[in-house]
Amino acid sequence: MKLLDKIFKFNGGVQTNPKKDISTKNSIKCLPIPSELRLPLRQHIGNMPKLKVKVGDQVLKGELIAEADGNISAAIHAPTSGKIKSVEKLLIPHPSGLPDFCVTLIPDKKDQWIKKAPVNWEKLGMEKTIKLLLNSGIVGLGGAAFPSHLKLGNNRNSPINTLIINAAECEPYITCDDMLMRERGNDLIKGIKLVQSLLGAKQTIIGIEDNKPEAYKIISDLIIKESSVHIKVVPTIYPSGDAKRLIFLINGIKISKEKRSSEYGIQMFNVATIVAIYRFIVHGEASLSRIVTITGNIKEPRNYEVLFGTPLESLIQDTGGQKIRNNTFIMGGPMMGFKLPSIDVSVTKTMNCVISAEPEMIEAKKEPLPCIRCAKCAEACPVLLQPQELFWFSKSDQFEKAQNYNLFDCIECGCCSYVCPSNIPLVQFYRYAKSEIIAQSIEKEEADIARERNDFRILRLEREKKERAERNAQRKAENTSEEKSKLIEEKRAEIAAAMNRIKDNEKIK
């Protein structure tokens, strides 16, 4: 295919030290069921799901614990059978270190499945299938956690003709997708064919980086017989795994931040998400587990298949713990991840990797110097932004100017900070500026509503005053002396008639 041979290269990006072979020496290991599972309710983009169980309930494996609230939401299922111990605020893997609602499940070790119901989507039709997917718990397992049912579906307005599978895994250290392709390749290919039919796409292209030769061989052998599934190797440059960058690398189409890839007939899924969709549709299994890479400064780094809610402590213990003890763990990759507040958190849908911090990652770096306008950051930015301008504006709180320079197009990949000679923590400023701007716009919206309500209240009070005045005036106008005496006459006649009626009634009695 001509498109497969054409090489596209996006501007910028950096060459990182991949450090992938640390965790690919061993195969994926499954841990035994832990003694406690803590499931945060908020593990995805969108609304928090509505709780369907209460403390003390017995649940089966795969049973719905919380159902999706609205369309942009996802469900939570019990990863194994057991009893609900509590629903309370516990520590979650979030950069803020703040607690959030979690459901604690005590497994009964029986691992009893609920009745599995595979989905015959061809018979049910797309609408009903999407409704079932809404409560399948499947979200993007590449780290973004966007509810997947919103991306499936045969939308007549913007039909999908190309399905792109994101097998790039560009961040250093992370190898969960690589190992998934090596060991669960069959499920992946079946899932690809299924999703391709669900979307009605004509072809599928798997995008993989050139540092995964084993996975490439296994996958390309599996798709030899498939005429509509192809695999394209892209050069290993960070961040080639970013959705819009990968689309450009594969077919040269540049999609801006405002537009969705579906408007261009392209839909993209991570390899792990495809396998999850396959297991739900064909086997009726909700999303209950994922593969996590534990790597870095650790005694036995490898990949694990874990149930959601598994305490991270038990995973770290199984690897033998840190080689150099510093009690610092990073969730995600070293370029875009964040420091975990503590190891006392559980595995969530977004946890693709936990890096035990190497000394170089946490040692006190040199103090930042002022910006010397060398524009190395602009050379490295894959979105062709001007990081130095965004830095000056974010630093001085000139948020409007920062937005003029397209601050929200920034994907926070970290390439700019990676190359800065002055050691400036650029991405920290962009995150700060973005959350300030969002908070300010929410405040402004609330202020606008308050202003409207206040204006309406003043209007209402004046209206009531006016109505009262009008009524008084009308009553005064009505009551001239003739009319007044007429009214009095009428009233007297009515009273007399009523008195007579009473007297008559008494007489009858």
Binding site: F10, N11, V14, T16, N17, P172, K244, F248, K254, I255, S256, K257, I330, G333, P334, M335, M336, G337, F338, K339, A357, E360, M361, I362, E363, A364, K365, E367, P368, L369, P370, C371, I372, R373, C374, A375, K376, A378, E379, P382, V383, L384, L385, Q386, E389, Y405, N406, D409, G414, S417, Y418, V419, C420, P421, S422, N423, P425, V427, Q428, R431
Partner: protein, 336 residues
């Protein structure tokens, strides 16, 4: 603390390393310079660097900034060295001291310090010296055909006790100066320089020094300290503009070859206009900037009052940099 958030890894040379690599790239040029123009160059460099570091120390203390962090970043050393390489080697010691003080204190720190200077500090220092002491600044010694031609003792004497008479006796005009004067006087000049004027040896020295700076410049491009946009555009533009004028009237205008290899052209192309702080930040902006500098250099050299126009051309284009930056913003990925 810096390492509280991602990215947790980094691979970038520090500012100090970049500045030291620039000094390393200047070495071939410095050696060639000393070879042809004597030990005065070395004296200028040494005094310049010492003055720069001392004055920066005091200014940092007054400004209440961490001294160790800023004095070790090497930017003062580079600016002072570039200034020292721009002035004649037989200039007395007070010339370089005044120039360096202006460069560091006024052109760099009065505008805000590292990363905030509006104008190229070395060029500001040079411009101040040129305008204040024109006589001394235009007296260059005759280049030697080999090192021993120079009397080291005499050079040191001139450096520390230079008087007008002594300087006059060892100096001569630069090629550009000579040709400008000839044109002004309406006399013909011989491009082949075979009429025995010392200009000939002068020009040979100029070529070799320029090639040494070119070597240093290519090294800097190879290790990715600078991009190709500025030097290539500057040299091509200067060649093009001088070629156009030369083709129009070759008796009045010099050929491109001479413009490219005389004066501070190659030093300017690789070391002066590539100053990141005062230059543009966008690739297209760099092309406009370099073209503007080349045009102004040519105009000042040919039609202006000074024999060498690099300093004023650079300073003038520095003023235009914010406008150039805002007009040449690259199109963001995916935007129309």
């Amino acid at each position: 603390m810096f390492n509280q958030q991602s990215p947790f890894v980094q691979k970038a040379p520090t500012v100090t390393l970049v500045m030291m690599l620039v000094m390393f790239a200047l070495l071939p040029g410095i050696i060639a310079y000393i070879f042809f123009f004597g030990i005065g160059v070395l004296l200028n460099l040494t005094i310049a660097i010492i003055t720069a570091l001392i004055s920066e120390y005091f200014v940092l203390k007054i400004r209440n900034l961490p001294v160790k962090l800023f004095i070790t970043d090497g930017s003062a050393v580079v600016a002072a060295s570039l200034l020292a390489l721009s002035i004649p080697s037989i200039a007395p010691w007070w010339i370089i001291v005044i120039g360096t003080l202006f460069t560091i204190i006024i052109a760099k720190h009065f505008y805000g310090g590292l990363g905030s200077n509006l104008f190229n500090p070395a060029m500001v220092g040079y411009a101040v010296l040129l305008v204040s002491f024109p006589a001394v600044m235009t007296k260059w010694p005759l280049p030697a055909s080999h090192l021993l031609d120079f009397n080291i003792v005499q050079q040191i004497q001139i450096f520390f006790y230079g008087t007008k008479e002594i300087i006059d006796s060892v100096s001569s005009a630069t090629p550009l100066d000579y040709i400008k004067t000839q044109i002004f006087l309406g006399k013909p000049f011989d491009l082949n320089f075979t009429n025995g004027m010392p200009i000939n040896s002068y020009f040979n020295a100029s070529i070799i020094i320029s090639l040494s700076f070119l070597l240093g410049g290519v090294f800097m491009w190879w290790i990715k300290i600078i991009t190709w946009h500025l030097p290539v555009t500057f040299l091509l533009s200067l060649a093009l503009i001088s070629a156009i004028f030369w083709l129009i009237d070759s008796s009045q205008y010099l050929p491109p070859f001479i413009h490219l290899f005389s004066g501070g052209t190659l030093l300017c192309a690789f070391f002066i206009i590539t100053d990141p702080v005062s230059g543009p930040t966008t690739p297209r902006g760099k092309i406009f900037f370099a073209f503007g500098v080349a045009l102004l250099v040519y105009l000042i050299r040919v039609f202006g009052g000074y024999p060498e126009g690099v300093a004023f051309a650079v300073i003038f284009m520095n003023i235009c940099v914010p406008l150039i930056d805002s007009l040449t913003q690259p199109k963001v990925f995916g935007h129309e």
